[in-house]
C-alpha cells in the first residue's frame, strides 16, 4: 500500500514538474535588440526567462555601425529581433538580407506608434525642401516607451503563450515605474513659468520627450546628431539661436565642449546636455537611469533659466 502511495506521489509531483520545465525550455527565447532602450525594456518584460542579446557592441553608434561577420552569426541564432523600424537602426536591413533567417520574428517597435514629422530643412543653404520624414527617436520619451513596451509584451506573449501573462504583468509594473518618473518631473515643471523661456535643441531627437512634458521647442538648430559641425554650420546655428531668441539650448552628451563654449559666448544662451539613450553598457536599468537623468536635467535647466530671467 505504501509503495502504491509513494508511486502515486511521484506521479503527481514529478510529472507535472517535468511537463512544466519542458514547456519553459521550449520557450527559452533568444531575443536580439538593435538599440539600448530595447534591451532594458525586454529585460524588464522577460526577466530571466529569455536570453536578450544586443546586435551591436555597447559603444557603437547605430547610425554608422558596420556589421561584422560575428554579428551575422549572432543574428542567425535569434528567435526574435526587436527593431526601431522608423529609420534609427538602418544597419539591420543589410544584416537581415545577408542572413535570410526565415524563422526570425521581427517586432517593429514603431508599428502603431504615432510618429512626429521630422523636417529635413535645418540650414539656409540646404534649399527650400520641405520634405517630411518621420522622427525615429520614438524611444526618448516615457509615454511612447510605455506603448512600445506593451506591444513588445503582447507580441512575445503570442510566441510564448504560457508566459504571456507574466510578460504582461511585468510590462505593466515597468510601465507604472516609468510613468511615475514622468509624473514626478511634471510636478516640478508645473512650478516653473515656462512661458518666458525659448528652448532649442541641437537636433529633433528630443521632440517626443518635450511634447510629453508640455514644453514647446522654438527651434532645432542642427540637422543630425553625431555630425561635427563645420565653421559654416556653427555660424548658421548661432544665427538661428539669435533669431529664435533662445534661452536654453539642449545638446547631446557628446557634443564637443569647444562648440558649446563658442555658442555660449556668441549667444549667451544656457547650454545643457541630454542623453540620446543609445550609448553605454547594456543593462536592465539603463533606460530608466538615462531617462531619469534627462528629466532631471530638463527640470534643472528650466529652473535655472527662470531664476536668471527673474533677476
Amino acid at each position: 500500500m505504501k509503495r502504491i502511495g509513494f508511486f502515486v506521489f511521484v506521479l503527481l509531483t514529478v510529472i507535472p514538474l517535468t511537463v512544466l520545465t519542458a514547456r519553459t525550455d521550449d520557450c527559452n527565447l533568444r531575443i536580439g535588440v538593435s538599440l539600448h532602450p530595447y534591451y532594458s525594456w525586454v529585460k524588464n518584460i522577460v526577466g530571466d526567462t529569455a536570453d536578450v542579446t544586443p546586435l551591436i557592441p555597447p559603444g557603437s553608434d547605430p547610425h554608422t555601425y558596420q556589421p561584422m561577420p560575428a554579428d551575422l552569426e549572432n543574428l542567425q541564432n535569434l528567435d526574435v529581433l526587436i527593431i526601431n523600424g522608423a529609420g534609427h537602426d538602418e544597419f539591420v536591413n543589410p544584416m537581415l538580407k545577408a542572413t535570410d533567417h526565415k524563422n526570425l520574428k521581427i517586432i517593429n517597435t514603431s508599428q502603431g506608434l504615432p510618429l512626429l514629422p521630422s523636417y529635413t530643412q535645418h540650414y539656409a543653404f540646404e534649399g527650400d525642401s520641405n520634405k517630411v520624414s518621420y522622427n525615429s527617436h520614438t524611444y526618448i520619451a516615457i509615454t511612447g516607451a510605455v506603448q512600445q513596451i506593451q506591444m513588445i509584451a503582447r507580441e512575445l506573449g503570442k510566441i510564448c503563450p504560457d508566459q504571456a501573462r507574466m510578460y504582461k504583468k511585468n510590462a505593466r509594473a515597468y510601465a507604472k515605474k516609468l510613468r511615475n518618473m514622468l509624473s514626478a518631473a511634471l510636478v516640478k515643471i508645473d512650478a516653473i513659468d515656462t512661458n518666458t523661456l525659448r528652448i532649442a535643441t541641437v537636433h529633433d531627437g528630443y521632440a517626443y520627450l518635450f511634447q510629453e512634458l508640455g514644453i514647446e521647442v522654438a527651434a532645432v538648430v542642427q540637422p543630425r546628431h553625431g555630425i561635427e559641425p563645420s565653421a559654416r554650420q556653427l555660424q548658421d546655428t548661432i544665427k538661428r539661436i539669435k533669431r529664435a531668441r533662445v534661452n536654453i539650448l539642449f545638446t547631446e552628451l557628446d557634443y564637443k565642449k569647444q562648440y558649446v563654449n563658442i555658442i555660449f559666448q556668441e549667444t549667451g544662451c544656457r547650454i545643457y546636455s541630454l542623453s540620446h539613450v543609445s550609448k553605454g553598457e547594456y543593462s536592465k536599468d539603463f533606460f530608466e537611469q538615462a531617462m531619469q537623468k534627462n528629466l532631471d536635467d530638463v527640470v534643472q535647466a528650466l529652473t535655472e533659466a527662470t531664476v536668471v530671467k527673474g533677476k
Binding site: L113, Q150, G157, K168, Q211
Partner: protein, 228 residues
C-alpha cells in the same frame, strides 16, 4: 545622238524601296512601353507613404492634431493595454475611477502636462464594446474668449470583434478567429455631450496613424492572446 542612246541603255531606272521599318518600329514601341511600364511600377513602389489620399471623409491623420492633442492621443493609445489587462482580471470593462487609481493616463491626470489635465472622462460600456469619452471644459471657456478652436472632445473606443453587436466601422474583421479587439480614437473640436454609438453622423473624426511605419493601421487590432 549615238552617245545619248548609249546612256539610256546604260542607266536603267531602278526603284529603290526603303528598308521595311515595321520591325524597328515594333521594337521601339516595345522598348518605350517597357520604359513606361517600369516607370509606373517604380513610381507605385517608391511613392510617398502618405495615406491621406486613401482616407475616408470621416478620418483625420494624426499629424493634423494640434498643440497638446498629440500627447493625449499617445496617452490614450498607451492606455489600451492596461484597459484590456484590467478587463481580463475583472471580466468587465474597467471604469474611469479604477483606471485613475491604477495610474493609467490620461484617466490619471498627473501623468499629463498641465494643459491636458482639464479633461473629465466617462465610461460608456456596451455589450461587446466600450467608449471612454473625455471632454475638456477648461479650454472651452478660453475659446469662448476668442482662442483658436482645439480638439476638445475625445472618444477611445475598444471593440470586441467576437461580439455579435458592436459599432462599425473598425479595422479588422468581425468574428476574426485570430483577432479579438480593435481600438480607435475619435475627436471633435467642440465641447459636446457623449455622442453615443454613431460618431460619424455626429461629425466626429476618426484619428488614424499616417506614420511611415504604421502599415495601414492593422496594428490597432489585438489578437486573441489577451484572453488566454
Amino acid at each position: 545622238m549615238i552617245e545619248s542612246s548609249t546612256r539610256e541603255k546604260t542607266y536603267r531606272e531602278v526603284l529603290v524601296v526603303p528598308l521595311a521599318a515595321r520591325r524597328e518600329a515594333l521594337i521601339l514601341i516595345v522598348i518605350i512601353s517597357l520604359i513606361i511600364l517600369f516607370m509606373a511600377l517604380r513610381f507605385s513602389l517608391v511613392r510617398s507613404d502618405d495615406s491621406r489620399e486613401s482616407l475616408k471623409s470621416y478620418q483625420s491623420p494624426d499629424l493634423y492634431l494640434k498643440n497638446q492633442a498629440p500627447t493625449l492621443y499617445r496617452s490614450l493609445l498607451g492606455s489600451v493595454g492596461d484597459i484590456l489587462d484590467l478587463r481580463e482580471e475583472s471580466g468587465s470593462w474597467p471604469d474611469v475611477v479604477l483606471l485613475s487609481s491604477e495610474g493609467v493616463p490620461p484617466f490619471a491626470g498627473n501623468f499629463l502636462p498641465m494643459g491636458l489635465r482639464g479633461f473629465t472622462w466617462q465610461r460608456h460600456a456596451g455589450e461587446g464594446w466600450v467608449d471612454y469619452f473625455g471632454v475638456n471644459s477648461d479650454i472651452a471657456s478660453a475659446e469662448e474668449q476668442g482662442a483658436d478652436p482645439l480638439e476638445n472632445s475625445f472618444v477611445l473606443r475598444i471593440i470586441d470583434l467576437q461580439s455579435e453587436d458592436h459599432p462599425h466601422p473598425h479595422f479588422g474583421k468581425d468574428n476574426d478567429p485570430l483577432m479579438r479587439f480593435s481600438y480607435q480614437i475619435w475627436m471633435n473640436q467642440q465641447v459636446t455631450e457623449y455622442p453615443g454609438e454613431r460618431l460619424i453622423e455626429r461629425g466626429w473624426k476618426w484619428v488614424v496613424g499616417t506614420g511611415s511605419s504604421q502599415g495601414g493601421n492593422t496594428d490597432t487590432v489585438i489578437s486573441e492572446q489577451s484572453d488566454q
